[in-house]
Symmetry: C2
Subunit: 420 residues, 2 copies
């Protein structure tokens, strides 16, 4: 019934937004810390110091790459932890000794309990906001346009005297929209000057840069952010490695208390191999990104054009790519709706031919709900469930694209036939 | 001036309570997940499923080793996170939608806000308790006797109608005292029956088993615990790997919100190599522990005897070892006070001869404070600062002990001379 393509020998992997393979150089850098150099960095003897030095030189390297001071880098176990640390950390630090009771408490909470984000954030932001709502705090989710760009007017109008945090993702994990972080940062800086004059609390600005770190400029000063989350597993680094950048003078509270590691903001014995690997991965990503982006954009646009030419009633979700503006969409992201085709079925058939693509974001797939991102872009539930995400990586080739387009075309055709 | 011992070729590592090298079999088990098998376990395609299967078979293996159901194992990024998840998780789940304000809030908080621990816990417990105190909750720290055993009478008397959690460590990281967890569990079970009749909330029982997991029985039913924390980096597994056991029916709230991994209790892409390595490490530790313990106890007692024979004004801290009772002190722990010797100086000199020992616990060393554990055992500040911790591992030999005792004896003698 279905096209009799032979599986390729090698799997064709098109889901780099979900997970990237460990880069060979990253693996080489972290390996000594999986064998001989196993010391605990908190210890003052030589075996501890060699681990400590590895952690600190990784911190210095990352700081340099993002234009920060080493003391601003807090290592975490991955991107979700980093984002949670930013959001809950700011919130709990702003509150008077938490859980205030009575009138004074009510007043101080009333003053300090509003935060803003977008409707298309990763679940680690959305669900942190929902948990804070459950604690009685107030939140605003700013909507986006049909390409996924945040409504800047609404953002600007949504701030209140009691707003303490804006968290906007740098680039979207599903449709690749690159949000105008530097523009928001610039506006907020001016806004905070006005607030200062009015004796209102500063609004802190956090960006989830987990999907952006492999492709975009991460300089925290050019971006104008106070907090930034990055993880390793999306940039050819180790899983559950990541960091939160915290600007000098910004107060946050830890999620995890203990031995006081990471300036008391993330206790627990440091994951030395993870940290070393993360620093190496970020170094490679930032060093190679302009060249890499060029290759990916070419491949992406070739892929999209070929699909839209070959398959009817197919459409690209997220920012248009024809504009040649490289700052609107992640170089590796393709998100497609095929009318009349169930995205999950398409994904599973492609898998059976050795091609890995995703439906929606990785973290939400178990639930089978339509993507909240596609819905926010104005797609119907049906359209959202008829979509797949293809995210290219540095190993992908034109041959793989050609081969895959052939299979996608045939499978879509067959699925449409059976659906009738 | 100081004895002219030649450094050994190989470092003699006596700090296994701070960090253990990765076991060769563990490394072998996790390595495929650092290369080919890099998929994100949340994805439904084959590359995701192979990662998912590795996570789930690791979960099943660990569950079997501790007598639990797989759904009771929540993977975390290390021991401190596991402990924090237990303590904050229970606390936030017991509170009505957090931060209650006004009379109703005050009343419900009054009913549900007391927790108990011991004075000699790891900082991840102590500092979590202190953070909760800062939020207005009430805590009790139970004292210990001169050997580090918890005062059971006081523990029993300290519970209140509003008590919701008791957290007692299974074995102490500094002096090796093994606390009577099963006895507490048994008493608490009976106590909870009485409370049920009185319509009082159940008191949950958590144990920090991070130092115990390599040596002791971890069966959660024999121990009678509702929650148990274990990490990998103390049992020859990967750093920042760990889990929290949560008994069926026990409600906790997450520390980290996001994609809903780990039954919504620990979001973030799973650390597949870390999880696979943790399961393998726990399997090896529990399989070999009785044989391993025998070897370690022999070596430990030989070490202690030789030190106390060779060096005057030296004493062992923690449980006596002459009693032949193997259930009182961790098989690998030695903690010694040398009067008139600064522990840190001794540690640094030993390091210069290639011997790694610790002062106090790893996580508190940067501060230079005397160990809170030794103070709780009744030692003076001066005695506490004159102490070192030696924790043996499966690679250590009698030859290493002989060689080290010679150096320790000479260095102690020299340090005492200079101190005069």
């Amino acid at each position: 019934m279905f096209p009799k393509f032979k599986r390729t020998e090698k799997i064709i992997y098109f889901d780099h937004a979900a997970a990237t393979p460990l880069d060979r150089e990253v693996k080489k850098a972290l390996e000594p810390f999986l064998s001989d150099k196993f010391g605990n960095p908190s210890l003052l003897y030589s075996k501890g110091r060699e681990a400590k030095e590895a952690v600190e030189s990784s911190r210095a390297k990352i700081a340099e790459l993002i234009g920060a001071r080493p003391s601003g880098i807090i290592f975490t176990a991955g991107g979700s932890e980093s984002v949670n640390l930013a959001i809950f950390g700011v919130m709990r630090a702003c509150l008077p000794p938490a859980c205030p009771v009575g009138r004074a408490g009510r007043e101080s909470r009333g003053k300090l309990s509003h935060l803003i984000t977008s409707a298309i954030e990763h679940h680690c932001v959305i669900n942190s906001f929902k948990a804070l709502e459950g604690e009685g705090h107030r939140t605003t989710f700013i909507d986006v346009d049909g390409e996924g760009f945040i409504n800047l007017d609404k953002l600007k109008k949504s701030i209140r005297p009691e707003t303490i945090l804006i968290s906007i993702m740098y680039a979207n994990n599903e449709v690749g929209t690159i949000e105008p972080i530097a523009e928001i940062g610039k506006w907020l800086k001016a806004e905070n000057e006005k607030r200062k004059a009015k004796n209102l609390p500063k609004i802190l600005f956090h960006t989830d840069a987990c999907q952006a770190a492999g492709f975009l400029d991460l300089n925290v000063n050019r971006l104008g952010v106070d907090l930034m989350s990055v993880n390793g597993s999306k940039i050819y680094g180790p899983k559950q490695s990541g960091f939160l950048y915290v600007r000098d003078g910004v107060k946050i509270k830890p999620l995890i208390y203990g031995g006081g590691q990471e300036r008391n903001l993330r206790s627990g014995t440091e994951n030395v191999p993870g940290i070393v690997g993360l620093a190496k991965a970020l170094e490679l990503a930032q060093k190679d990104r302009l060249l890499e982006n060029k290759h990916l954009i070419e491949l992406r646009d070739y892929f999209i054009k070929k699909i839209l030419t070959n398959i009817s009633q197919a459409s690209l979700n997220g920012p248009a790519v024809s504009s040649k503006d490289e700052k609107r969409r992640l170089p590796n992201n393709i998100n497609l709706t095929f009318q009349g085709v169930e995205g999950e079925a398409l994904m599973l058939y492609l898998d059976s031919y050795g091609i890995c693509v995703a439906t929606g974001s990785a973290c939400a797939t178990e639930e089978g709900d339509p993507s909240h991102v596609l819905l926010a872009l104005g797609k119907s539930k049906k359209e959202a469930l008829s979509s797949i995400r293809i995210t290219l990586g540095k190993q992908n080739t034109k041959q793989e694209v050609d081969w895959s387009v052939g299979i996608i075309t045939a499978v879509v055709k067959e699925l449409r036939k059976t659906a009738k």
